[in-house]
Symmetry: C2
Subunit: 136 residues, 2 copies
DNA sequence: GCAAAAGTAGTAATCATTACTGTTATTGTT
DNA sequence: AACAATAACAGTAATGATTACTACTTTTGC
């Protein structure tokens, strides 16, 4: 029941805190194995679930069928590139007021929302533009 | 290449059009098997993918790791009950203007968004209230 | 230093989904 | 109506992310 220290969990946490990407369990596993070749994929999954249950990290279901994880638990929204699949933090105003709009004409209770924006990231926009120019 | 008629596809489409629920592939499979015991799960998956690629239905990734499907392709938002997992259509004003808020300070191009509201559905709210009253 | 309990590595199992394969149904053409 | 081309199917095997299990290792309070 009581939580005990584990080096593996610390390493996983440190890895997440030191990236602005939004890695999957396998991303975490592959990267940490460079330094700790013995770590088990099950350990990575268990600790990611544990950390997100404790609220220290956030689990993102971005729609590609694979869970991503984010050490930044402050309220913010995400963008997912339809081309390369990358996940990017958005610096935008708070839009939680949309829950009020949703609460109208609804019998139950709305607690919150998850919003993902999609489109083309800056890199993919540039590549696409280069491709079009080359064609001319 | 050309699309051919298939009874199975028609039945799948009809089932989806006659429910206000948002069934999973397995829901569709189980229900249609009552009438067509020979239908294959693979056929259900293939046709659901085909229909959603053609834009006749919409694939919903509601965050439970299982794809749900909706025959209503008109723009509307969904609510997912944190208690029972049900998916409900929301009758609410259009909130697509949030993409403008997201586009500010963003280098790429934002095409759209997927927003899911969560909380407790009417039925679960009532059950919860009954439970609380019973405790007093 | 020791015992209780939490955590781990490694592997097996699960579950949704997709791919494959040999057969069946549809369709445009005689 | 019969025919050939090909889309679609049923049934099954394979895939990929995730979870469960088990015997061993760490941590921790005394």
């Amino acid at each position: 029941m009581a939580l005990k220290y584990s080096r593996q969990r610390e390493v996983i946490k440190a890895f997440l805190y030191n990236t602005d990407k939004h890695p999957t369990a396998d991303d975490v596993y592959v990267n940490i194995r460079k330094q700790y070749p013995n770590i088990s994929l099950g350990t990575v999954y268990r600790n990611l679930t544990l950390l997100s249950d404790m609220g220290e990290i956030k689990r993102l279901r971005v729609g590609d069928g694979i869970d991503h994880f984010d050490a930044d638990t402050s309220p913010h929204n995400h963008f997912i590139c339809s081309e390369c699949g990358c996940v990017i933090d958005l610096k935008m105003e708070n839009i939680d007021y949309i829950t009020e709009a949703a609460s109208k004409n609804f019998g139950g209770q709305i607690v919150g929302h998850t919003t993902y924006f999609y489109g083309y990231c800056e890199d993919c926009c540039n590549e696409l533009q280069a491709f079009v120019q080359q064609a001319n």
